[in-house]
Amino acid sequence: MTMTFQDSQNAFASALLHPDLPLPHGITTARGTADPLRFAIYRNNVHVSLTMALAQRFPVTQRLVGSDFFTGMARVYAADHKPASPLMMHYGDDFPAFIAAFPPAASVAYLADVAQIEVAWSEAYHAADGPPLEIAQLAAIAPERIADLVVIPHLSTRLVRSDFPVGSIWSAHQDETVMPVGEWRAEAVLIVRPEMQVEIRILPEGDGEFLACLLGGATLGDAAEAAFAVAADFDFGSALTGLTMLGAFSAFEPSEGEVS
């Protein structure tokens, strides 16, 4: 029986990923017999590569727990999560969710949310380019229409909200020396790349709620009311102009319910 090329490739890949499977058919050495130890090198290379890809995408997460812990955690993840795409920049999109449910990491409660910032950073970095909405366009909106508009976010816009100061923690780990983290409180972190550089900002409390509602499809009016409810000092005008100037939006449009 002759295997097709594709069968043979699939069998090889499957044996690479599952150490309990026998060696793929047709593997030989110069001495004529297959050597499981030699094939184990290939299996190991796959795992080491995936672990290193995670370490590159999650440098702050790695610093927080140390490389031994991180490597161990990454190996457990890699055992059950193989890349869904040959584009390795996407590998680990669900690593934060894995961390959140990984019992040995439970003592570092903010770890998953810091990892989520790192996912957002690379997503923003690789997002398609697009012109952000400009302030002049904001100024041109008829006042009576404002409350019923919805936003179209910029393609790179990401928001990470956490019960922990994850923006401050992330920032504290950007230099060789870890900086102290100030007040221990919840943070809403905007990650966006309007031009060439990824910008990361900690938003005021009400503004985090405001942006979360907008990204969920709420109208400006509904989002503003939700923001007022969590922060009495919410300033609609400065939130909207501030987020616009950061490049968080690409356009406004009437909500579906509005007759225009």
């Binding site: 590159q56 409350a147 923006g167 780990h173 400065s238 501030g242």
Partner: protein, 95 residues
Amino acid sequence: MNRSTLTLALAGSLASAIASTAFAAPLAPEKMVGNEKCYGIALKGQNDCAAGPGTTCAGTSTMDYQGNAWKAVPAGTCVSMNVNGHKGMLAPVKS
């Protein structure tokens, strides 16, 4: 707040925010860069230019594939970071 009161309040708030930033004319991109620093708390390291994983040739075998039983504990900066007493803990983890 009823809808028309809300609309008025939002329109007024937006108008004064735009007026206070004095951006009547379309903004030059370089001007935007300087002004946006006023909003939110800018963080260090946001100009990192790492291109993400998959850009190096990873995977030098150390032949430890079978030896990966879970045993590590968090031992990075979460243990020493000064965050008002909220440190990572070194509780041993049973595998």
